[in-house]
Structure formats: structure tokens, C-alpha cells
């Protein structure tokens, strides 16, 4: 019995696992509330940089009133290694976006799906309140 089903089960299992992972990520993101956190660009001398931009959260400039108790969850973001991160964009836009983030005249924010106690997920990048790709921002 097991031998009969072994081949189909074992060959399908990688796809099932990937589907489960996608479903889990979707559920995690949908369960969180969207929050905006100010960011600043940084230069970590990353040889692989190009199709993503690198950012660092700027808690000093962030409006903490959007979080429960009016306190920014810095420790939680640190625990999930989300204080610095990569945001994937088309390669031809990466340099211009990086310059926009580093320009002090602009306001750069990262939109996260956040739920207390869970990993925060970056959803979008805002430059002066507008989505990086011109798409509408949904809150």
C-alpha cells in the first residue's frame, strides 16, 4: 500500500510544503495591522545589492501613537531581526529609490504588517506618503 503511494506522495511533497508556506505567510500578513515606520538608507557594502534597497528603521522619527500604549515595539523588531532589511524592487529603480531615501528632504517610510508577538512583514515602501511604484496605499 505504502509502496503504491510512496512515489506520488514524495514527489508532490515539495510543492505541498511550498504551498503551505505561502498560505502561512498570507495568513500571517492578513492577521496583522498595517503600521508605518520611518526608515533611513544605509550602505553596508553589500556586493549583492542591486535588485533591492537596504533600509534601517528610524525609531526616533516614527510616530509611536499608532502602536498599543503609544510605545514603539523596538525590542520586538530587534528580536525578529527586522530592524534592518532588504526591500525588493526592479533593478532599474533601485538606485533612484536609494537616493530618494537618503535625501533628507524626503520622508521615507516602510509599511509593515504587524501583530504583537509575531514576526513583522514589510509590505510597502512610501516616499513622501506615496507608494514607491505609484500604486494606491491601502490602510
Amino acid at each position: 500500500m505504502f509502496e503504491k503511494w510512496k512515489n506520488p506522495v514524495m514527489v508532490s511533497l515539495p510543492v505541498v510544503l511550498l504551498l503551505a508556506w505561502v498560505a502561512f505567510l498570507w495568513w500571517q500578513i492578513a492577521a496583522g495591522a498595517l503600521v508605518k515606520i520611518k526608515i533611513k538608507g544605509y550602505d553596508p557594502r553589500d556586493l549583492l545589492a542591486g535588485h533591492y534597497i537596504l533600509y534601517e528603521l528610524d525609531w526616533e522619527a516614527t510616530d509611536c501613537s499608532q502602536f498599543v500604549g503609544g510605545k514603539c515595539p523596538k525590542e520586538e523588531f530587534e528580536r525578529f531581526d527586522a530592524v534592518r532589511g532588504r526591500f525588493y524592487v526592479p533593478q532599474q529603480l533601485a538606485l533612484a529609490l536609494e537616493q530618494d531615501i537618503q535625501n533628507s528632504a524626503n520622508t521615507a517610510e516602510m509599511v509593515f504588517s504587524y501583530r504583537a508577538g509575531y514576526r513583522p512583514y514589510a509590505r510597502s515602501l512610501l516616499i513622501n506618503g506615496r507608494n514607491w511604484n505609484g500604486a494606491a496605499v491601502r490602510f
Binding site: 514524495m10 515539495p14 505561502v22 532589511g85 525588493y88 512583514y121
Partner: protein, 325 residues
Amino acid sequence: MFKAKKLDRLVAAGIITQTQKLQILAFEEGKNGFPLVQKALAVLGVFMVGLGVISLVAANWYEFGGGVKLAVMFALLCGSVYMALRTEKAGKKFTAEKWRLGLFFLCGAAIGLIIQIFQLSGGKMYTPFGFWALVTLPLLFVSRQKLVSYFWMPLFLGWLFCFATDYLAEWLAYCPWVEEFAAEILLLLFLGLAGIGYAAEKLVPAFSGGSVLKKEALFVFYAGLFCYILAGGIDSFSGLPRLGYAAGVLAIWSVVLWLGKGYPLVRRNIKFAGWLIVMLYINLGKTLGLFETGVGLIIGGAGLLALLKYAPKAYKVVCGRVKNV
């Protein structure tokens, strides 16, 4: 072709007959169902198709939404699963293996795509590779041709190497001796993996990764040992203890192999012992200043000549015994 030429020479020398030559060739042909060139071209074909699909998606990245990209990727994954199962059912074993290999590569591409779509960052750079190995592990339990294993195992061993070195670096804060013995720990880790591969090969024959794990972990172990002994010869400060540890590992490992009747590896260990003696000579020569003065050079040169004269004899005596077992 090379085998046929070698056999011709054996026939000419009168070691084997023409009939025996033909029998050997017929046996070898039957054993390898798929010639190496055909296999290599098939792998190249699968790789090119996979690369083409990824390039196509990457070039039109900006045009597609995340949902479309995921849908295309999962359609490709499901198509590969279907073809792998269909060809297996039709008895086309090697074609099924090619589809499983395609599935293996597509899973890697899918993980990269999911990371980009869901903007997952942070954590260690090597983690996705570990996840790729984990997700595709079930393929090794149905793969009889070892083609998938030959790609899966370097992925797993590469991830394990990064993981182990990273965690050894973290343990430094708690166990200072880890820094001193990091290289030895890594060498023993790969030797242990080779042992696991050997055990898996014997205990779970359906798991095609067992023999490949054994071969590739042993390759990493011996490559690491070669460099370790080389470093022992060059390094004047901690070289001698290193060479001592290497000699200890080689001796214990050879005894274990001898007891398990792994004579080919004992012969390999003897060759490594020769390499160790050469490096010991260089280390001692540097420490004693043999390469710096005229007298030192004469003593050093005489020592080297003596080594060249007697070491091969000792090697032949020991190897001859091992070969005859």
C-alpha cells in the same frame, strides 16, 4: 572509448583474451544504462530550460503582479510533478529523474520568488538554502538514479558548512577552546556525515542520498585534511600540534577502516600520511633553520633525499600488505 583502448593493451600484453575483452565491454555497457555524455547533455538541457523560465519571469518582473508570479511558478511546479509521475509510470526511469531534477531546481527558484514577493529579509543568508534542501529532501527517497542526489547533497553540505561555522563563531563567547579547534571540529563533522551516509546506504537502500552523502562528505573531509596538513607545514607556531592531530585522526580513522574492511580508504590514508611527512619535514626544516644556512641546507637536502629514498619503499611495503588483504 578509453576503456576499450586500455583493454586492447591488456589483450596485446596477453593478460586477457579477445573474448574476455568483449565480455568486459558488454558487461560495462549493460551496467551503465545511460552513457555519461548523454546524462551530462540531459542535465544541461534541464538546467537551460529552468534558467530560461527564470529569466523569462525575471525580465518581465515589473509587468506581473505577485499573485500572477506565484500562479505561474506553482503551475510550473505542478507540471513538473505530473511529468515526473507520468514518465515514472511509463517506465522511463531516467526521464522521470530529469523531471525530478527540474522540480528540484524549480523549488529553489520558487523559494527565491516567495522571498521577493513577501519581502522576507533579515536572518541568515544561508537559511533559504537550508530550506530548499529540506523541502526537496523527499525527492531523494524516490530517486534511484542519484542524479538529484548529486545536486542536493552539495546544497545541503554547503548549507551545513555555513551553519556550522556561523554557530561555532557564536559559541566562541561561551567556549573559548572552540576557536582553537574550529578546523578540527569541522573536519570531524564531515567525517561523521560520511559515516551517516555509509549507515544510510546500508540500512535504507531506498534512500539514494546515502552513498552520495558518503562520497561527497568524504571528499570535503579529505580536501579539508589536505589544506589542514598544508597549513600545519607552513605555520611555524601551531603547525606541529596540527600535524600531530592530523596524524592522530588518520591513525584512528585507518584503524576503524581496517576493522570495517574499507581497504581502499586505508590506502588513501597512507597517501595522506606521506603528504603529512612532507609537511612535517618543511615545518621542522623551518623551525630548525635548515633552509637558512649553508650547513642547514646540506642537512636539509640530505634529509630530503633520504626521505625520497625510504618513504616510497615504506609506502610500497604497507600498501602491498593492504592490497593483498
